[in-house]
């Protein structure tokens, strides 16, 4: 393993640092060994929570490039499934696909227990909502009364990301018949009229989050933990990756291993220039 050409971004950076910093072989071994242990000993665990229809799958594909991999089903009940994706060189990604609350009060009790069981062990917790949701008030309630308290109790609040998906459909939900409110798929950007609608919607969402003390309050989310994006159009995934990188103690591991280019298209280009 030590002799194999290491493909992780962080390994290649350290290789350079060792070279330039004149680090002893012994010290190199120590750093490499410690790093490898942290990267490979356990999988990088991501929990994804959301209602049917918010775009959990498209989000996972867009952010983690999951469509390039097949998973091994580690274990699961009908409700929660852990999927392990071998990414490369012994590094594994583990995804817990968790059901959203609010469909049935009987199930909610069961699911809340699952959240308590699983969330404390996750490196990143993604709560996905729909930008045009009529139920955003309910999502706020769930975050406030259930998810955030669980995270705070287990000191993993910094691992949480509120992912607001489908910003591209904000216009359609206002008026599905207005072509000027449709996302310009060709240029991959909003039309001028849609920009105004999106700005208003994002502003309303922020207002609601502030009113509910989900941001801008003690033990609430930081600014970077709220991301607005469109999975389907790969729009503003950069903020999402930044949020993952900043998540808790281990968020940095994801970009440090697979780098910042789309997984599967990662090239050696810049770092191997000598």
């Amino acid at each position: 393993m030590e002799n194999k050409e290491r493909r992780f971004l962080i390994d290649r950076i350290f290789d350079k640092i060792f070279q330039l910093g004149n680090v002893s072989k012994e010290d190199q071994e120590t750093v490499n060994h410690t790093l490898n242990k942290e990267l490979l000993e356990k999988p990088f665990r991501v929990a994804v929570i959301g209602q049917a229809g918010v775009g959990k799958s498209t989000t996972l594909n867009a952010v983690f490039g999951l469509e390039n991999y097949t998973s091994n089903l580690a274990e699961g009940t009908k409700e929660v499934v852990e999927k392990i994706y071998p990414i490369r060189d012994g590094f594994n990604l583990s995804i817990y696909d968790m059901p959203g609350l609010n469909n049935d009060i009987a199930k909610d009790i069961e699911y809340e227990k699952l959240y308590r069981q699983i969330l404390p062990w996750c490196d990143v917790i993604v709560y996905v909502v729909n930008a045009h949701s009529r139920d955003f008030g309910e999502d706020c309630r769930i975050l406030k009364e259930i998810v955030l308290p669980i995270c705070n109790e287990n000191k993993v609040r910094e691992n949480l990301i509120l992912a607001v998906n489908k910003i591209d459909t904000i216009g359609e939900s206002i008026n599905p018949y207005d072509p000027e409110l449709k996302w310009d798929a060709f240029k991959n950007e909003p039309t001028e009229k849609l920009k105004i609608a999106i700005k208003k919607k994002l502003s309303d969402i922020i207002d609601k989050l502030i009113d509910e003390n989900l941001i801008g309050a003690n033990e609430s989310l930081e600014k970077h933990q709220v991301v607005f994006y469109s999975a389907v159009f790969n729009y503003n995934l950069r903020d999402f990756i930044l949020a993952i990188t900043k998540a808790g103690k281990r968020g940095w591991i994801w970009p440090a291993t697979v780098g910042l280019e789309r997984v599967g298209q990662w090239s050696d280009a810049k770092l191997s220039k000598d």
Binding site: I10, I13, G21, I253, L260
Partner: protein, 115 residues
């Protein structure tokens, strides 16, 4: 506003100051911290809307900075304190913060280390 809050307000641009006042009128029950969050998000919203669907820049300095901080904190936490490695990493963080590409940053460290 207390002293700290006043300082934060004073450091805002003129544009942000008037936005601050507008928010205060719209949301009289919000405290200073909440208003400042709203001001910060105002820029973020514009960013999101104006930025086209670009691919992520593999040399995104903010993300790289976070990676380096993360690995450095990790090494510290597990007790691997190698001063020369840390110095090099700090230097790298510093250069990346200033917007240097990794490759260029690494060359600069070489220059700095061999001075």
């Amino acid at each position: 506003m207390n002293y700290e809050e006043q300082k934060q307000y004073d450091n805002l641009s003129e544009c942000d100051k008037s936005y601050y006042k507008k928010i205060k009128l719209d949301h009289p029950n919000w405290n200073h911290r909440q208003i400042m969050v709203k001001v910060a998000f105002n820029h973020k919203e514009d960013d999101i809307i104006e930025r086209a669907g670009n691919d992520i820049d593999p040399e995104d300095s903010e993300i790289l900075n976070e990676i380096f901080q993360g690995v450095k904190n990790f090494l510290k936490r597990v007790g691997v304190i190698m001063q020369n490695v840390f110095n090099a990493l700090d230097k790298l963080i510093d250069l990346v913060k200033k917007g240097k590409a990794i490759y260029n940053a690494l060359s600069e460290i070489w220059d700095w280390l061999t001075d």
